[in-house]
Amino acid sequence: MIRTCIAKLSLAASLLLLATGLMADPVTIKYILWDSAQQPAYQAVADAFHKANPNITIEIGQLGWNDYWTGLQTGLVSGEAPDVFTDHLAMVNDFASKGQLVDLTPYVTKDKVDTTKYLNGLGDLWTKNGKRWGLPKDWDTIAIVYNKDMLKEVGYTEADANNLKWNPTDGGTFEKFIAKLSVDKNGKNGLDPAFDAKNVVRYGLALDHSDDRGQAQWSPFAVSNGWMYTSGTFKADYKYDDPKFIAAIDWMVKVSKKGWLADYASTQNGPAAVFAAKKSAAIFEGSWMIGYYSTSVGFPVGFARLPAGPVGVKSMINGLADSITTSSKHKDEAWQWVKFLGSEEAQKIVGTFGVVFPAYQAGVNNALAAYKAKGVNVSAYTDESLTKGETFLYPVVDNGVKTQEILKKAFDAVFTYKATPKEAFTAANKQVLALFK
């Protein structure tokens, strides 16, 4: 009997020890992101995570895009980087090649995470050479954002805006669309022969300054013209000197000179300000800004599909994921957080905030419901992602930062009319290819 007593006691004792061992030391995981509009959503996810894992607390930090990457670099260099950070396809390879990211494959295998459930094949984007650098958490596409009042004013309907066509020769119905919406100082619109391109008070279209990706700038034109950056997502044989690309840029320069596309000076601080100030009727914008435009600009805003070029409507699709840094001192807990972020449950929570489209269908449904409740029609974005062949990926290769710099300079020169597209991009492409030698 004493023996059973002792046995029971020791069993209880070991169970207790086990329990306290499981209720391990409290761990704080540092997590950073750049989009402040999404922070409330991720805070909610962190709270849900903490409920399920009481010993792990998530500390969320935010730095705006301009400071995000330098802040992260400084952190990596000083050994005080966050444990988990929101990663971007353009930067992931730079970090991975420096050995700063943890390969998630062993964790994924051990916990049997199903990476095929993500929409649009996003799961594969974050792998390279058999290593996985992140679990996808959302996706975004590009659409036309327009001022509903201005549309009515010139006699277009929303259906018109949703079915515009474009080609590099005469710009199709899209060119007429932006011309008609442009207004000069004397009240004449862009189709009027007396339109004064030097004194435009309202541009039909305003776009941000372009870089190598041109996500919400030139890519809808160039790609719908039948061009592609490289021969494959993971290939680096850039083709910025291709005639189809140059034709698209030529068209953009043409309408810029005509005063229908906002010039580089006005969009120095971004097209959003120009649009909000009613100095442009439409812009191209990503789905992450839906929340902002539907609530904060003081006039009704609509979303329309990108114009269809010779090969159809083409929108870049991009997706974010979360990566773990190798300097993290709590990799296992960090994995728990990353796994949760990439799970359906977390993405359902994020969806309800209506700030982004999660990578799981269930999350997207929540987001759509949230948008509907706010009275916002976002079908332009979702249709593009659901219709086969309407989205394309940007190449995921090395030298992202340098490529961006080279192309930015080329675009700056082209859009300030200091160089022709042909000159600038033939030279730029050579420089880019040289990076990969």
Binding site: V77, Q100, Y264, S266, Q268, A273, A277, D412
Partner: protein, 297 residues
């Protein structure tokens, strides 16, 4: 005799210890944060180092790459442009304000009012003007429109960006420099002024023949400090233009900062800063020589 000498030597030794004691804190700071970094910087400039992987010695490759980089020379040129836009205008305005403080009213109001921008950090000043000069929604854009002019790009226009960056800096510093000049004006003996007036010199003549020459030492002081400071501009550019449009305001510090803290090419960036050091050294020497000429008065 030897007694006195011995006492002196003992005093010297004692003073050595006391001297060291007085010097110790600043010496510590100097060695650790001035001397050591400068020397170490020189060594780093001969390596290729990104702080994450060990440094690799590469001889003078950084320097040759530097001299071959047209962007480097461009940033040097841009910085020189800034100095030319900034210094003459700032000095003239400071002088004008000093004269106003001297002639118009002796109350503190003028002095105080002009000094307020000086109290505001560079960064906040830059943001303020960035807002006023926004090409679409800034107030100055509205003013330009109201005057019927075509929209000026302000900071987004490659031709006006640098002069405007200089203006931002002038706006902040002209009151402070004016005050220093004003003090210099107080140093001009009144008898000389009165003598000039009796001799029939009117305002402008008095200014050029008497005031300016007597202000030379103070002017020289201001010029030296502002010129060396101008070569090191960073804050305003970082906030207002980020080196743009294109590279119209890509000043030297901005170039070095990018290579050091965005690309982590520590060796290359330190090489660039060493060259800047050499340049400023020469500029400083030239100025010292001219300043000594000014002290002859």
């Amino acid at each position: 005799m030897s007694g006195a000498a011995a006492t002196r030597r003992r005093r010297n030794v004692k003073e050595l210890f006391v001297g060291l004691g007085f010097l110790l804190p600043s010496l510590f700071g100097f060695l650790l944060f001035f001397a050591y970094p400068t020397v170490r910087g020189l060594f780093i400039s001969f390596t290729d180092w990104d702080l994450l992987t060990p440094a690799k010695f590469i001889g003078i490759d950084n320097y040759t790459a530097l001299f071959a980089d047209s962007a480097y020379w461009n940033s040097l040129w841009v910085t020189v442009q800034y100095v030319f836009w900034n210094i003459p205008a700032q000095t003239v305005l400071a002088l004008a304000i000093a004269m106003m403080m001297n002639k118009l009213t002796k109350t503190g109001f003028l002095k105080g009012a002009f000094l307020i921008p000086w109290l505001i950090p560079n960064v906040i000043v830059a943001m303020l003007w960035l807002w006023l000069l926004d090409p679409s929604v800034g107030y100055l854009d509205e003013v330009v429109k109201a005057m019927g002019l075509p929209p000026l790009g302000f900071l987004a226009n490659a031709d006006t960006a640098m002069p405007l960056v200089a203006w931002i800096n002038i706006w902040k510093w002209m009151g402070y420099n004016a005050l220093i000049l004003y003090a210099g004006l107080q140093g001009i003996p009144k008898e000389i002024n009165e003598a000039a007036v009796i001799d029939g010199a009117n305002g402008w003549k008095e200014f050029t023949k008497i005031t300016l020459p007597m202000l030379r030492p103070v002017l020289a002081f201001i010029l030296v400090t502002t010129i060396i400071g101008s070569f090191q501009i960073y804050d305003t550019v970082a906030i207002a233009t980020r080196g743009g449009p294109v590279d119209a305001t890509w000043v030297m510090n901005f170039y070095l900062f990018k290579y050091a803290f965005q690309e982590y090419h520590m060796g290359y960036a330190t090489a660039g800063s060493m060259v800047l050091f050499a340049l400023l050294f020469v500029v400083g020497l030239v100025q010292m020589r001219m300043m000594r000429a000014g002290e002859a008065d």
